[in-house]
Symmetry: C2
Subunit: 145 residues, 2 copies
């Protein structure tokens, strides 16, 4: 009799899960979920598209609060995800297709993102987010050569 086992999880699955949680927190403008995703250290680092860089969790949290307070609606579709894992560190790249604004005024933009995750205890935590605008609008699936 075959045991009823859970399907095997690949090593990359937990990183992909937390990356999904990051973008879910962002889309739902959910500060508690965003807190959960990040490592709360003074050296974590963030570049929002077109911003100065920000270092330290306190300042990064403030930046998300500011973004969430000034955003009515945000959807993000990810393209061309790549992921490398080496020991306790994982780095993921993707192209973000960002739709923002209201029903009457919708803007779509693309950004390249580098997200670095580090294993802290049993969890992978976001320690670095560098997102930068893709300058001209091109097909999202052609943003990586």
């Amino acid at each position: 009799m075959v045991e009823n086992r859970a399907p095997l999880r690949r090593p990359e699955d937990p990183v992909l899960d937390v990356n999904e949680a990051f973008y879910e927190a962002l889309q739902s403008l959910d500060m508690n979920a965003m807190e959960e995703v990040w490592l709360h250290k003074e050296w974590v680092y963030c570049v929002h598209p077109g911003w100065q860089a920000i270092s330290g969790w306190d300042r990064i949290r403030q930046s998300w609060e500011s973004i969430f307070a000034n955003t009515e609606r945000l959807t993000i579709k990810l393209h061309q995800i790549t992921l490398q894992i080496c020991g306790q560190v994982a780095w993921l790249t993707c192209t973000e297709e960002i739709t923002s604004g209201s029903a009457d005024d919708t803007r779509v933009s693309l950004a390249h993102s580098t997200n670095i995750y580090m294993k802290a205890g049993d969890d992978w935590k976001l320690v670095h987010h560098h997102a930068s605008p893709v300058p001209a609008y091109i097909s999202p699936d052609e943003t990586v050569q």
Copy 2:
């Protein structure tokens, strides 16, 4: 009698050395030195400021060849370097102050850069370079909040 020992090397020193070698290769438009810095794998990743992302060493090498062929002079001064090391992976951030052009036509721009290095044998190799323009000109020392 005190022995004449070499000064102790910190764990971060070899990563800072290879980061310096990367920018030295870039400034001297030296393709051999650039080859030496990178890991030659199909999954290494590069975003030049304002470019599409590029994956794979062959394409990345071509991009540097193209940049070097079209650049007369390039100097890069680094500001606000941060470095984290975890096991065999290191990630370094900095602000690049890029001066390019000829004596008559000099342009200065700033870019945020995320450089990921991985230990391969005894050497640290560059596996990821994501550079993006800092949109408005601000003091290079104020690009990280």
